[in-house]
Amino acid sequence: MRKHLLPLSAIVLVLGARDLHAQTRAVSGVVKGSDGATIPGATVLVKGTSLGTSTNADGRFDIQVPASANTLVISYVGYTSQEARIGDGKLNITLEANSTSLDEAVVVGYGTQSRRELTGSVATVSGKEIANTPVQSFDQALQGRAAGVNITTPNGVLNNPPVIRIRGANSIALSSSPLFVIDGIPTYSGNNSAVGSVPNNPLANIAPEDIDNIEVLKDASATAIYGSRANGGVILVTTKRGKKGQARLSYDAWAGVTRPVRLYEVLGAADYVNLKNEAVRNLNENRRRATGTVGTNIEGFGQVAANAADTRWYDYIYRTGFSNNHNLNFSGGTDKTTYLASVGYSNQKGMLVRNDFRRYSARVNVEHKLFDRLTLGARVNYSNSLNSSPNSGSVGDGAFGTAGLGRLPLVLPPNIAPFNADGTYNTNGAGIGAGPNINPGTGAPLLPGYYNPLVDLENNYFTSESNQIQGALYADLEVVKGLHLRTQYGIDNLNFEDKSYFTSLAGDGFSTGGSASDYYRTNKRWNWQNTAQYDLSAGEHNFSVLGGTEQQYTDVQRWGATRTQVADPFFTTFQGNYLNIAASGNAQGANYLVSFFGRFTYNYARKYLFTATGRRDGYSAWFNKFGNFYGLSAGYVVSEEGFWKNSNFAQAFDFLKFSGSFGTTGNNQGIDDFVSLPLYNSFLYGSSSTFYYTQAANPNIGWEKSKKTDASVAFGFLQSRLTGDATFYYNLVDGLILNVPQAPSRGIPGNSIPANVGSMRNKGFEFNLRYDVLRDKAFNWTVSGNLTTLDNRVLSLLFDGQQIPGSTSGLETANYTTVGRPIGSILAVQNAGINPANGQRMLVKADGTLVQYNHLGTSGAGSTGWTVVSTGANTPAPTQLADGVFYGPVLPTFYGGLDNTFRFKGFDLGIFLQYSGGNYIYNGTKAGLHDQRFWNNATDIKNRWTADNTNAEWPRLVYGDNVSNGSNIIMSQNVEKGDFIRLRNVSLGYTFPSKTISGLKLSNARVYVQVQNAALITKYSGIDPEISVNGGSNLAPGVDRNSIGQARTFTGGLNVSF
């Protein structure tokens, strides 16, 4: 059921009521939808007059019509209007659902508008499109659904927040994520967990089944009403409400399995031993050539036969996870009251062992008309979610961790067994035991230094549990006709308890003798909005004026402690006994936002459209508190012109609108609450307390401002069977806050000071097209798709030549942001392949010199392993900064989705494709997979250079060589294109005919099966082209380092209503 446009229909009714003295004849009837359900609130007008009424809760209407009248026009938003001849009997009218979206009510900030009249850029995703998808938070399901909204899933860990970029990256140092507003109250998003291994996205506290629809505000006109928080766009979520007269109990459930896909092929034990020993032989040969004496390294792999194994580490780390999800809701309404109550339960198990997500949720949405003009309502959601995950190395800064499960199956020697013969864990100190391998250099057992993943998986745990109460009470008073005063007070209280436990047996807990940490965080927010809206129509002039204020106070506190040296392995919780305790994770923040805003919309005959929006925000973090934001937009609906309507093409080409907007928004998302204060922190020196200078204040810091320009055309053909729009956007972000890198020798805390110094622009086109290819009683086929292009450029930084590094886990820097290039471009030394003459990796220096690397194979003055290919002379190693070449952009330059829906009788088939491309990825995982330390390698390493295989893909193997593969220097060998098409979702459903199920008191029943992430077409050689090990980092996007990819999920489910 579509939403109802209250203000307009109210006006119609009021006007109708005035002319009642002309009546002479009574007509009654009932209005139903094509699904057979009655439609309350449908407008019934006498054709050619303004006389009218609307249907009651049962879909019935009674109207007195003039004797001369012979036709009624029945309309309802979302349905094709119909005319009905007035006869003698009762009218039975069935409206066809109108699948065009032109008349939909679109939720905009603090109100609604119809899409037909909208001049701002707003994308709508209906709740149906995302319900029943096997995700934890609804934002994960938005991938590819809306033009201009690029969403990537950075890894396959459950409840990891997706990276959302609306029209490109909108910030460098702050958050580029949109503002999420749930039923009018801004909420929390992003990873809020205090424990690095386990992510927690608070948006998972909303059951996707509770969502009615989602609006994405993109341009200045739409977003300026959210002022200082809107640079990254705004995502408005409206939850379901009860509907008049339709008491209904619905139950949705699905269950499914999740499996890993596209895992790397790594060497088995036999190949591993052979290749590593070959590498040692080559190393000895290198030493002989360099020093004249034979190298003494031992071919130590697989030396101790007793410990030999052939372990496929994946088998211990990945699994088939079973999930199930249930949602029960009860809704209905009378003339005065509508209500909806729902409860949900979700239990999802990921493909990683012990990666589990569980949610309980409950929601009540009620609205009650206390008096004719006073409506009260409340919307409350409570949710408890618990996410647990082993250390995947894919979240936070874990990419290079020695415990990361994304990495361990790639590096661990396959000839080591996870268990000893006696069933105990194979460990040596914190790490895994040497197994049958001897260190070639020393003859001692070769200890990998990495952890035995089984110890972690079977003993440690990392959980993040959240309890969230989110709700608002509102009152709407219509003081005089068309003038609504509305007040809304909302709270959003979110508590987290994050826990970690490390066993003392081995792994991260070994050196601390076992440890347990517990962190408790409270996010408390109140938000109070007061608005006055006045709608007035005079003739063809339609005005709407909105004025309001909003205040929001957010208080965040976290405290925690880490206990170490467990008294006895019996204790596995924080409350057990330990020898030591130290405070950890303490944090405190508070911020306050006060705003004054207004919006004026005007249209003439729904033909000429105009909207002006302004907002003045004061924010506590700044020294200069206030900032102003505005948006202007105008539209021209050409198809409303008389000449158009009367033309002979109007039937075929029934809608055409031009619109454009301009304005500014701001960004403070992610700025530290106390950024403009000079601060001293306190800690310990031994047992004494300290104070030290911790923050260099910059009192001049303020909002990042974005100037957004939009031009758009929207159209409808064939009675809007074909609708679409095309938009050009240009978004100039000014006053970008940069953590201006300070020379480390200045000793500034953090080596950076934030300042508004940069600018960046994003521009591109967005296209939406929807075509009802076939509209037949029995067979229906709808295609809809969207495409967005993005051209991102950094226009200015602190100074022209500035290169801002973006590091991965602080250990590897592949990305540099510079003026004139897309943000976060990859800087890599150019690879020139393998020298067929000697099997050495060749790189190109900045001056064009071709150089090659021979690990420990050079000698003489200036020996670095690097020689000039043409002369053989020693040469300094190439460096990334001096010799690197830029590869960019790293953000996709085009992306979108293509949705096909087929209906045949009761069957429905949905095929949803998501695509993206034009971007580069730094595949650091590939570097690791070809490292010539003891690490295991990808099977393609077999195509390495040997005297017999001189035209090889990989260099001659030299033991210990971590340069030729790119572990030590970022080289273009590991930079790849990231284009892909993903079959994101395929679903096949069957809806039982109402005759079959009516005996069971069911009003609707559908069963379905679906596959999420069904297939992937890409040339990218890594696990998943969407991987982003640095999550939403603006400076280091597009890096694949030891992360786990996305799973494939098969589900089956049913939806029934009574």
Binding site: L283, F371, F400, T402, G429, P440, T442, L447, P448, G449, L477, V479, L485, T487, S511, W528, N530, Q551, Y553, N580, A582, A583, N586, Q588, N591, Y592, V594, F596, S620, K625, F674, P678, Y680, F683, L684, S689, T690, F691, Y692, Y693, V740, P741, Q742, A743, P744, S745, R746, G747, I753, A755, S807, G810, T813, A861, G862, T879, Q880, L881, N962, V963
Partner: protein, 495 residues
């Protein structure tokens, strides 16, 4: 009618509420302040806050990534006495391997950053003492606080000197190479707060040493003779003197070494300072020196850790050297092959430093000088009295030749407390000096002195296992300047 009245009342209430909501923009909320961090303007308001800042300076120098562990570790693992067991790039592999790059963040970038962060804390503190001098004459500051301030100032300058000295040993050519004329470090002496001032060229090695000596001389003047119960963990007059012996030795200014060392080393045993300050001296037992809490008078300066104030993950000395069987991480074992100190015939199997400070696990040998596993509360040593003695001995030999009996007595004093075999006499200065250097290598194994001893003589860094020698002409002989400095400081130059 009743309902209409109620509506009117409600309208009034709502209108009033809206009005209130509009104009009650709350000023205190708009200026909300943190309650876990102190506003900078209040940092010098009480004596306890000023003292806490002094402690803060120490805490910066002793962070795990600098002199709280890693600096000492890097000083040893560059050379050939230790074997990397874990192949872990985070725990010094690149230092051990000599494969550092200017982007290597765990070592090249972090040591530089930690040292300069400490230097700026010192500079900010010194500037704050000047700016706030007016406050110190009145309550709550006690009378005579000026002399307390002078002591604090001296501690700050000593720590700054220690930071610059430590940086020079990794990032600049030795003083002996060009007599201090080679590129040194950007000499940051003013407090850095806001934007700007990124560009600063390198001073020469000699200029940096001049500043170090200026600071240490000033520190010697201003430091108290004793810090009471904190004599090991806070600087007193002897600390400045001891550090000067190290600095002069590193510069090859041997007569100055003698002058300084003479202030605290008597001409003959017992070797206990008798200058009216802390009675620093040679302890009779090396094991006592390293037995927790490592607070004998032999330790002139060490940095403390507690369960609440730990060195941090993968920074702890015991984590690197202590075998896992004894609670460490076993990152490095002692090199048992030829060239390693254990294979040196001068390191007798009966030497206490071998019998008590080295443990065997399987066929591997580990240093157990830092015996405490988690939470790793062993102090990180900076300078010990025995180092002053051996520095003095070396300076005497280099000045007076092999016949110097005081030098022999000093060497034997250190040696014979752990090893029954005393040296009788040396026929040549070079033999004598080799014996002193060997003694230093044995005595200070795992204390970060090895690198200093190699670099100050421009000696080749010996290789181990498959890792080759690094000669002074090799660009890898000194660490690269971090790329972060090069990119932000346009006057900075590469090594």
């Amino acid at each position: 009618m009743k309902s209409a009245f109620r509506t009117r009342v409600f309208t009034a209430v709502v209108t009033a509420t809206l009005g209130l909501g509009t104009f009650s923009c709350q000023n205190d909320l708009l200026n909300v302040k943190p309650n876990t961090q102190l506003d900078g303007g209040l940092a010098f308001d009480t004596p306890s806050r000023v003292l806490a800042q002094v402690n803060g300076l120490y805490s910066y120098v002793k962070v795990g990534s600098f002199l709280g562990g890693r600096y000492q570790i890097y000083g040893d693992i560059r050379a050939n006495d230790f074997i990397n067991r874990q192949n872990n790039g985070v725990t010094g592999l690149l230092v051990w391997n000599h494969t550092l790059a200017e982007t290597s963040s765990n070592d090249v970038t972090s040591v530089w950053g930690a040292a300069y962060a400490a230097i700026n804390q010192v500079n900010v503190f010194l500037a704050g003492l000047d700016t706030n001098a007016g406050k110190f004459g009145a309550s709550p500051f006690p009378s005579g606080y000026a002399s307390t301030v002078a002591g604090y100032r001296a501690e700050a300058r000593l720590l700054r000197a220690l930071c610059y000295y430590s940086l020079l040993q990794l990032y600049a050519r030795p003083y002996i190479d060009g007599n201090g004329s080679r590129p040194g470090l950007p000499l940051r002496l003013q407090a850095e707060f806001g934007l700007g001032n990124n560009d600063l060229a390198r001073s020469t090695v000699g200029q940096v040493y001049d500043q170090i000596l200026l600071d240490l001389n000033a520190a010697e003047q201003g430091l108290p003779a004793s810090q009471g119960g904190n004599n090991v963990i806070r600087a007193h007059r002897n600390t400045a003197i001891a550090l000067k012996t190290r600095v002069y030795l590193t510069m090859g200014r041997y007569s100055d070494v003698i002058t300084e060392a003479n202030k605290i080393v008597p001409t003959s045993a017992p070797y206990v300072a008798a200058n009216g300050g802390v009675a620093n001296g040679l302890n009779s037992s090396i094991t006592a020196v390293f037995a927790p809490p490592q607070e004998t008078t032999e330790s002139i300066l060490s940095f403390p850790f507690t369960a609440q104030d730990t060195p941090g993950t993968q920074n702890q000395l015991a984590f690197y050297y202590l075998p896992s069987a004894l609670g460490g991480g076993g990152e490095y074992s002692l090199n048992t092959a030829a060239g390693g100190i254990l294979a040196n015939p001068g390191f007798l199997s009966t030497d206490v430093r071998r019998t008590s400070l080295v443990a065997a696990v399987g066929n591997e040998r580990f240093l157990t000088k830092y015996p405490t596993g988690t939470p790793f509360t062993d102090k990180a040593p900076v300078i010990r009295y025995s180092e002053v003695m051996l520095s003095l001995a070396e300076a005497l030999v280099r000045t007076n030749g092999a016949a110097d009996t005081r030098a022999l007595a000093l060497l034997n004093a250190v040696r014979t407390r752990s090893n029954s075999t005393a040296y009788t006499a040396f026929t040549s200065s070079s033999d004598f000096i080799d014996a002193i250097l060997l003694e230093r290598r044995i005595e200070f194994l795992g204390e970060g002195i090895r690198n200093i001893d190699l670099m100050r003589l421009n000696a080749t860094i010996p290789g181990k296992g498959s890792v080759g020698d690094v000669s002074p002409s090799n660009p890898l002989y000194v660490w690269p300047i971090p790329s972060t400095e090069l990119s932000a400081n346009t006057l900075m130059t590469r090594n």
